[in-house]
Amino acid sequence: MSRPGNKRPEYHKIDWHLPAISSSASAHSMNRDLFVLTYGALVAQLCKDYEKDEDVNNYLDKMGYGIGIRLIEDFLARSYVKKCHSYSEITDLIAQVAFKMYLGITPSVTRNESSRNEFSLILDKNPLVEFVEELPAGRSSLCYCNLLCGVIRGALEMVHLTADVTFLQDRLKGDKVTEIGITFLKKLEEKKYRRKK
């Protein structure tokens, strides 16, 4: 008696009778303004607490990292994705599934021709900066949405991929589009037994 090779998802749906708080993120109906305002309040408070822009950017990245390492499990639990086998698959997944699930937007993916492991996400619409006109004077190098970079970095690290994630262009700083650059670094391999030929 052999088991089927690929596990197909079970088609008969079970009603788990669990409270609505555990529904998937895309089914959450929370007031989006509240979320955007909370994020804005966070950045504003950080700006009051720290003088240097790099400090604020660092802290946003760290907070994002803490979110990313937890969010990845939620993402994997709800999206039934299979293991990816290439960096472009991963970037496509981030842009088309993850961003859609959590922010409701689908950035487009471009790939740096010169190197195999550099990709960019071009954000057309960014809900986080909906109410922000421009960066305040004296804060010209603030990456307002740096939290997102930290989230992506943390999430990738939990699936054993190290990456450098930064804002390459930012509409708030005067560029034409908002672009997040992802550079994949050395893959963290789980200890695998390699037979030497």
């Binding site: 088991r3 596990k7 079970e10 079970i14 009603d15 788990w16 009778h17 669990l18 708080i21 555990s22 390492i69 937890r70 990845i72 499990e73 939620d74 994997l76 639990a77 709800r78 994705v81 293991k83 939990m158 699936v159 789980e190 695998k192 037994y193």
Partner: protein
């Protein structure tokens, strides 16, 4: 009652959560007179029945309590050795309770890390690349189902062999873990899970799975 236990193992192989869901079978307390017609032996710090099965007391059952007082491994509550105590005719008649020995939490920890190692060996033994690792272990009394996430956490469920729907239960446990353990800001990753909400929702999910999944007789 068809789902016996749930184990959650972290990336390093440490057990971070464990739930036992089976009701213990009625362990009767019986009175014995000298000489004891069961053969007892000492094994692994416990006093087990080696021979002389009768009346619901089976080989492998451990001495759980003497005269109503729980024993402490191989010693009685007062510190005397159980075998010595039961060998002395002056202590009879005595009432002893026998039952299946429960695993201590240390033993569970050890078993979980052993399973983690076996799982790793299993994926390396695979002739094909990219094996998923051990998904199921089957015996005549239970089936062990394991699901490893892409991040390395393993969810292990021990259930009745006839119980179905364990695959979706494992996914559901993953969702419950991501909701009630991870989203709790005071829970640190890879540490033992001590979240009330996680417990409650897990038990609810087990109940639903038991009702929905069993197709065999006697459900």
């Amino acid at each position: 009652m068809a789902i016996f236990s749930v184990y959650v193992v972290n990336k390093a192989g440490g057990l971070i959560y464990q739930l036992d869901n089976y009701a213990p079978r009625a362990e009767g307390e019986k009175t014995f007179s000298y000489p004891l017609d069961l053969l007892l032996k000492l094994h692994d710090e416990r006093v087990l029945v080696a021979f002389g099965q009768r009346d619901g007391i089976r080989v492998g059952h451990a001495v759980l309590s003497i005269n109503g007082v729980d024993v402490n491994g191989k010693y009685t509550a007062e510190g005397k050795e159980v075998l010595e105590y039961l060998g002395n005719p002056a202590n009879y008649p005595v009432s002893i309770r026998f039952g299946r020995p429960r695993l201590t939490s240390n033993e569970k920890l050890m078993l979980a890390s052993m399973f983690h190692s076996l799982f790793a060996i299993g994926s390396q033994l695979s002739p094909e690349q990219g094996s998923s690792g051990i998904e199921m272990l089957e015996t005549d009394t239970f089936k062990l189902h394991c699901f490893q996430t892409l991040t390395g956490i393993k969810f292990v469920v021990l259930a009745d062999p006839r119980q179905g729907g364990i695959d979706s239960l494992l996914r559901k446990i993953y969702e419950i873990y991501s909701d009630f353990a991870l989203k709790n800001p005071f829970y640190s990753l890879e540490m033992p899970i001590r979240c009330e909400l996680f417990d409650q929702n897990l038990k609810l999910a087990l109940e639903v799975a038991e009702k929905a999944g069993t197709f065999g007789p006697g459900s």
